[in-house]
């Protein structure tokens, strides 16, 4: 029975240590895809939160307490992510930042919900805010919100009668594909080619040749970064002439870097873009990020950054560390970029935790994504 005693003692010791700590710091769990297929997204998310944490602590922390972030690697595995969210909360985390992959978020957000812990996620799958979870908040618009903004571009600007869809067949791509296909049906635009590809696929010859054969007026491309780049390279090779339009990823700096010339002319609707440097907050963010990490931030980095800062802003609005109160204030809240500069743009959350804010249409010209239009939040 010595063991039980020992365990009891260690548990008490841990509790005491936790209490002593609680006096001057507030704990946050950063749970992201630091290894496995989600690593590019997860590491950017993490670096965004790191930059924000540094700034928040230099700024006096949250309600005068320094933020102490524990970082956890989900290995892009939903089961592990669930265990880690549990661990972070067991350790006394006041808020959770992450995860980015929707498959993981779908599982671990249940744990945060059970413990009434606010959670900022980088995932864009529609289902996340449709489960009635009051503690989950997006840091970018979900696919079901972003894509309808984009579809008006197909209808009004391009006046397309037919479209093709090239999408990556994972939970991210499928979410976007389903919303887009439903929108096209609503608008009476015919989907003449619907081409699914694998995550990590390298050979897009068949995909592009199918789209070329079907000859739609425009093509919606919804894939992760490298896949987008490989697709653009093959599209250029086979000489696809119709406009290639994406949501968020297609015109990202990383995709443009990888695809080179092949990215010229690609268009995308982006909720947040590091290339919208006409917005002062974003320009400043990009400079700071590049100085600290020596590379260009992706939109996942911006998402992590905003999630961290929103935690500070809203907690200070509430005036105490209370997950329930936090979630009540968040719903229907708007933070304008003037009073809350680190939100970068005017940002609102609705009663489901969905986020909206102005978004942009951008096009790649001369190797840079240039803003060609602003879409106001709906």
């Amino acid at each position: 029975m010595k063991l039980v005693k020992l365990l009891a003692i260690s548990a008490t010791a841990m509790a005491i240590a936790g209490a002593a700590h609680a006096a001057d710091t507030v704990k946050v769990g950063m749970i992201a895809e630091l290894s496995g297929p989600g690593a590019p997204s997860g590491t950017n998310w993490r670096d965004g939160t790191r930059l924000a944490t540094e700034e928040i602590n230099a700024d006096g922390g949250i309600l005068g307490k320094q933020v102490e972030v524990s970082e956890f690697d989900t290995q892009t595995d939903p089961q592990t992510s669930r265990a880690l969210v549990q661990k972070a909360i067991d350790d006394g985390a006041y808020a959770i930042w992450g995860t980015v992959y929707s498959g993981s978020t779908m599982v671990n957000m249940l744990v945060a919900q059970q413990n009434s812990v606010p959670q900022f996620v980088g995932s864009e799958a529609p289902a996340i805010v449709q489960k009635g979870n009051p503690f989950v908040f997006r840091t970018s618009s979900g696919a079901q919100k972003g894509i309808p903004d984009l579809t008006s571009y197909f209808k009004r600007t391009l006046d397309a009668k037919t479209v093709g869809i090239a999408w990556v067949n994972n939970e991210f791509g499928k979410g976007g594909h389903d919303v887009f296909a439903a929108q096209m049906e609503k608008l009476g635009i015919k989907v003449v080619a619907d081409v699914a590809s694998e995550q990590g696929q390298t050979d897009y010859a068949a995909d592009v040749s199918k789209l070329k054969e079907a000859a739609p007026a425009a093509i919606f491309v919804y894939m992760n970064q490298e896949e987008s780049a490989r697709f653009l390279i093959e599209a250029k090779k086979q000489g696809l002439t119709m406009p290639l339009i994406g949501e968020v990823t297609l015109t990202e700096a990383k995709v443009v870097e990888l695809a080179g010339d092949a990215a010229e002319g690609a268009i995308a609707h982006v909720g947040l873009t590091a290339s919208a440097t006409s917005v002062p907050g974003i320009a400043e963010f990009v400079t700071k990020f590049e100085a600290k990490f020596n590379r260009h931030p992706t939109h996942d980095a911006i998402k992590g950054y905003i999630g961290a800062w929103a935690t500070k802003y809203v907690t200070e609005m509430v005036g105490k560390f209370d997950g329930e109160a936090f979630s009540n204030v968040m719903h229907g809240l708007c933070l304008d970029a003037k009073s809350y500069p680190h939100m970068l743009l005017d940002t609102c959350w609705d009663e489901h935790g969905e986020m909206s804010r102005p978004s942009f249409m951008v096009q790649v010209t001369g190797g840079k994504a240039e803003v060609i239009g602003i879409v106001n939040s709906n």
Binding site: G200, A206, E226
Partner: protein
């Protein structure tokens, strides 16, 4: 029709890369009875050696390629044999096979931690101009890949069949004990096989990375397809690996275009299972040492 031609040509170009990887796999299998599950990672790695040379050491591309080739041959040829294969082979084939799986994780994670998780662009070796062949578009790059792969197979076959060293290698692979008695330095012959495998991996890496982009996880799919190609074509034949590689490249593209995109990845796997069922020695393989 132009679509069919397009898909065929692209399939051949991709298939030629699979073939290069599969040939190295076959060589190692023959000479050291090693099933190398890290073969895909062997192709992923050399591209990063080139990137380190050009980005960190600021070498010109041609020099970077030569340095990377040399480093690959040393690391994936000599060191692989000395540090992984030789110490573990005495314990048997299964531990060695499992060790190569661990090696795959090791290489992948090392590249990710020390170079980066995101894909990197890679300079093309050949101009990216395209040619129009009856409505199908093929890039100069594709043609070069195909030509290089075929040339390597021809050279390698000539080397193994026509030169003294090549024939010694074959003898050493087929019956090490007898070869030893005949005065062949079996250990050296085995080393040659590992060196050739390293060089082939480096070449395949240089040829495909401009299109595939350099990423730590590139080896996963490539390795799997390469040894499916090796088994389908015939494990103990170099031309078998070539045939298997081209066949899978073409079939993969045909399936994706005309049958199903959702299940395209299943095709090589189904092909593998069917071949093992019907003709376990592979399409071009001879049955020696394979059947029960």
């Amino acid at each position: 029709m132009s679509q069919f031609l397009q898909v065929m040509l692209s399939g051949l170009a991709t298939g030629s890369i699979y073939a290069l990887v599969a040939i190295g796999f076959t060589l190692i299998w023959q000479s050291a009875k090693t099933v190398n599950f890290a073969q895909g990672e062997f192709v992923m790695l050399p591209a990063f050696f080139v990137l380190v040379c050009t980005k960190v050491l600021a070498l010109p591309l041609w020099l970077a390629l030569i340095v990377a080739l040399a480093v690959t041959v040393v690391v994936l040829g000599v060191l692989f044999k000395k540090l992984v294969v030789e110490p573990i082979l005495p314990s048997g084939g299964i531990p060695l096979t499992i060790a190569t799986m661990a090696l795959a994780i090791f290489l992948k994670e090392s590249v990710k931690e020390f170079y980066g998780a995101e894909a990197q662009p890679f300079p093309p070796l050949f101009p990216s101009q395209t040619l129009n062949v009856f409505g199908a578009v093929i890039s100069l790059q594709d043609i070069c890949n195909l030509v290089v792969a075929l040339a390597i197979v021809v050279v390698l076959t000539l080397f193994l069949n026509r030169t003294r060293t090549g024939r010694c290698m074959q003898a050493a692979a087929q019956n090490p004990a007898v070869a030893e008695i005949l005065g062949i330095n079996v250990r050296r012959m085995v080393l040659y096989a590992f060196l050739i495998n390293g060089a082939l991996a480096a070449l395949a890496s240089f040829l495909i990375t401009p299109v595939y982009l350099a990423k730590f996880s590139n080896g996963e799919v490539l390795g799997l397809i390469a040894f499916i190609a090796a088994i389908v074509g015939g494990f103990n034949q170099i031309r078998g690996a070539l045939a298997g590689g081209l066949l899978i490249g073409v079939l993969d593209n045909l399936t994706a275009t005309y049958v199903t995109a959702e299940y395209r990845a299943a095709l090589p796997l189904v092909l593998l299972i069917v071949v093992i069922l019907v003709r376990p020695q592979g399409l071009l393989g001879t049955s020696e040492g394979r059947a029960v």
